[in-house]
């Protein structure tokens, strides 16, 4: 999902897969099995802490980088209503990034460290944000599909075993539903419009469908850290299960729009009670995640220049705070009299 990078086989052994067998480990696991939450200062295995830092920071980076493809359309939104909604949605995503960085910081990493990792190209974020937004219909498709997939993933994360992450997810989920609805409304308007508008909507679905399915990460059989994460209740539902659920709820929504899902193998399987669907192009998925998607370089360039161009603001704020502190210390009486 927003943290697909975690599941990829990298030969990374920094996160031990086996269950620890020390007394502390056993007590920790018993707590998790009893559905108790883990809070920042509680004892936790190093692997649990490391996995969480990686998962939460990847999630945070995704929220932040995710603003770029949509930001592309703020100045070109077709009406004031759409513009205000899009701005509000993107502002929410910035907030989501902040909640998540804060949750990661409770695990003993600094915000600066995490941002440096992203800007140095050492951290991962969701593959979905490396695709271009070439028409206004893409904004509709992103809200409907991308935020829809995010909701599917984030709802079970509200029950994550780590308290600060779980609380951040609860806040985020409350805000997400407007995101999906505003996207679907855009699609609906286009589909009820002229033939050309409807073609735009279909074209957006054609381009966003498969990347949206990739958001759920590799298939369970290729998902290396899943078992441990499930045991720790850092992950609550498997990638394939979530993907199936997403397909099952989204196909009828596409039908309502009168759009065709670009998958020749898609059909209802009455026996399973689910849609069958075609195989994802895993090669494309890996390429995008490794940095070779259509927009990876552009996204990183935009993040870096935003960070560099904002430096003087961050420094000025600190200098201003320092000056006020010094002034207050120098003239406490005058200040009080004011």
């Amino acid at each position: 999902m927003y943290t697909q990078g975690l599941d990829i086989k990298t030969g990374d052994t920094s996160v031990p897969l086996e269950r620890g067998d020390g007394q502390l480990d056993r007590r920790f696991q018993a707590k998790i099995d009893a559905d108790e939450k883990i809070e920042p200062k509680d004892w936790m295995p190093e692997g649990y802490r490391k996995t969480l830092v990686r998962q939460i920071s990847q999630h945070a980076h995704s929220e932040v980088v995710g603003m770029l493809p949509e930001g592309n359309w703020i100045t070109r939104a077709p009406s004031l209503r759409r513009k205000a909604a899009l701005l509000a949605k993107i502002q929410d995503e910035a907030g989501h990034g902040l909640y998540l960085y804060s949750a990661a910081e409770t695990l003993g990493v600094s915000r600066q460290e995490l941002i440096d990792q992203l800007l140095a190209g050492k951290a991962k974020y969701s593959s979905i944000f490396n695709y271009p937004t070439t028409t206004w219909a893409d904004i509709g498709a992103i809200g409907w599909l991308v935020d829809g997939a995010a909701i599917m993933n984030q709802v079970p994360l509200q029950r994550c075993s780590y308290g600060p992450y779980s609380r951040a997810m609860i806040r985020i989920c409350k805000e997400e539903s407007f995101h999906q609805r505003q996207g679907y409304e855009i699609m609906l308007t286009l589909c009820r419009g002229t033939a050309e508008q409807k073609r735009m909507a279909q074209d957006a679905l054609d381009r966003w469908w498969w990347p949206s399915l990739m958001m759920f990460g590799p298939s369970d059989k290729d998902s290396e850290h899943s078992a441990q994460s499930m045991r720790w209740k850092i992950k609550r539902v498997s990638n394939d299960e979530l993907r199936q659920k997403f397909v099952d709820v989204t196909v009828p929504q596409a039908e309502f729009l009168g759009l065709r899902v670009p998958d020749p193998d898609l059909r209802w399987n009455a026996e399973r009670g689910h849609y069958d669907f075609g195989e994802i192009d895993w090669d494309e998925f890996k390429q995008v995640l490794m940095g070779n998607g259509p927009c990876n370089r552009e996204r990183m360039r935009a993040r870096r220049s935003a960070h560099d161009n904002g430096r003087w603001v961050r420094e000025a704020a600190l200098a201003h705070a320092e000056k006020r502190r010094a002034r207050a210390a120098a003239a406490p009486v005058a200040e009080a009299a004011e």
Binding site: Y99, S102, A317, L318, A321, R324
Partner: protein, 95 residues
């Protein structure tokens, strides 16, 4: 590349008058005034509150979870602090 982080603040929101302020999350800001403004923008975008507190995270003294048992243990055996400890016949009303 690394620069100085703005200090960390904890944010508390009073949802409506009559309720206590409740911890909502944290954020970085250069000073208290900017922390308040950022908290308003991030944590109260949908009418979540009528009052905000921001407190420097470094100013909070917390109990140690390692000592949880020893620290909170003294109340464990004082069941006479609870109303159910006292036996009153069913017939006695309004108590």
């Amino acid at each position: 590349m690394s620069e100085k982080d703005w200090p960390l603040w904890e944010v508390f929101i009073r949802a409506k008058s009559g309720l206590a302020h409740k911890h909502a999350g944290s954020l970085h800001a250069a000073d208290a005034q900017m922390a308040l403004e950022n908290a308003r923008d991030v944590y109260t975008r949908r009418g979540e509150g009528v009052s905000l507190w921001v407190v420097p995270s470094a100013a909070i003294t917390a109990s140690d979870p390692e000592d949880k048992e020893a620290f909170f243990e003294p109340t464990g055996d004082k069941i006479y602090r609870h109303p159910t400890f006292y036996e009153i016949p069913e017939d006695v009303k309004n108590m």
